[in-house]
Symmetry: none
Subunit: 224 residues, 2 copies
DNA sequence: GCTGTACAATGAGAATTTTAGTAGTCGAAG
DNA sequence: CTTCGACTACTAAAATTCTCATTGTACAGC
């Protein structure tokens, strides 16, 4: 379940992303208009959460553009104003729901579930990939039928790879997803480190290592 | 026993919720139509209490929609008008009972019990989870056959965990559920504090600690 | 095939973050 | 005025994440 959150207030964006990640969504953030269109033109999202009171242009314009790229994605609008106008415009342009600041994060989650359900993504409870099984609601990872503990970063990374299975993921995109704001372009040592930990857990459980290194590019998670 | 109350008058909603909580129901509130459908699409309720004179649309419409999602849930209609028409319509659409404003909360409780009984939830008096037994009617908690006093917040938290057993509950959702009004992105110290108190009571009674910490995320209440 | 360079993997420990624990303040109820 | 529960502030402990130095590996050019 892939989500893009567009919000210009860094703190709020961060806490939304953190929360959604704890709820097992694969999500990215954009601080501006342009960043958002970049992301949308690059990745496939199932739902977009958009603050329409961004600084750099009309948020409703943005929605039109987003729709062009990704017409089947759900859209939830966030707004500070409770103005009926904006609400109506938003809904006319094809947003699926509307949320007024301030809001509870679990409220956002409820809307999100509703939107995704309306789009027939009945929230999956389990993920399977080869010998790996994940019970999302329990955050439990099973390798070959035995439960293995994964730290938050490891868990998130694993989910990310499964979401992008059979595709090459660049280190840049990994860094982008997992370390939103503060990733320094210098080295990817921290990625190597987490990759190593993942592989160690596979090995310790005699689980095949589905993670292929693509030299000079990144990784690919695939069977056999 | 999970209940959703749909009522657009905030004060009334609040007092209904408070009352139901003292009666040991796990309950959520919705101030509008849309909020209600969100909740219903997200959680499983055993009964819905719906004011059909909401501002944002016909309440009877709402009931139709609610039924679509969750046909086995009981429904009690609240209405300001005592019109026979609405009553008949409501019952036709599958509501189980009907209550006219103003009403006593104890009256609501009686209807609720009746509805739940009819649905074979014959007045669930006890909850059990491992070595924990709760007599809901008395708000009495037994750990390993000895009664232990739990403060109101501890009790509510315990019920929340039991209601969400075997699932990871994030700190955010705990905060959202237990401190609906005034929680702002602060620290989670108060959660830690209550968690500690719960665990202390388990320990003092030599009762297993079913509460697992999920580092960086929240907690999980499960056997073994 | 050999060699050099850039990239990737590894292991250990430092730094940071998160949680547990302790003590104490505040405010409401009696 | 006292008691009790709810919450806060602070310290300690635990766990995770990140850094860094080092070792190993793939690729390209010769």
């Amino acid at each position: 379940m892939r989500i893009l959150v567009v919000e210009d207030e860094p703190k709020l964006l961060k806490s939304i992303l953190e929360f959604l990640k704890t709820e097992d969504y694969i999500c990215d953030g954009a601080l501006s208009y342009r960043e958002a269109t970049d992301h949308v033109s690059t990745y496939n999202y199932d739902c977009l959460i958009v603050d329409i009171t961004l600084g750099d242009g009309s948020g409703l314009e943005l929605i039109k553009i987003l729709k062009l790229y990704k017409s089947e994605a759900g859209i939830i609008i966030i707004s500070a104003k409770d103005s009926l106008e904006d609400k109506i415009h938003g809904l006319e342009l094809g947003s699926d729901d509307y949320l007024t600041k301030p809001f509870h994060l679990s409220e956002l989650n409820a809307r999100l579930r509703a939107v995704l359900r309306r789009k027939n993504y009945h929230g999956q409870e389990n993920l399977k990939f080869g010998e790996i099984r994940i019970e999302l609601s329990r955050k439990a990872v099973y390798l070959k039928e035995t439960e293995v503990y994964f730290t938050p970063k490891e868990y998130e990374l694993l989910l990310f790879f499964i979401a992008n299975q059979n595709k090459v993921v660049t280190k840049t995109s990994i860094a982008d997803h997992m370390w939103e704001d503060e990733y320094s372009f210098g080295s990817y040592d921290f990625i190597y480190s987490h990759i190593k930990n993942l592989r160690k857990k596979f090995e310790d459980s005699a689980c095949p290592d589905y993670l292929k290194t693509i030299y000079g590019i990144g990784y690919k998670f695939e069977l056999a």
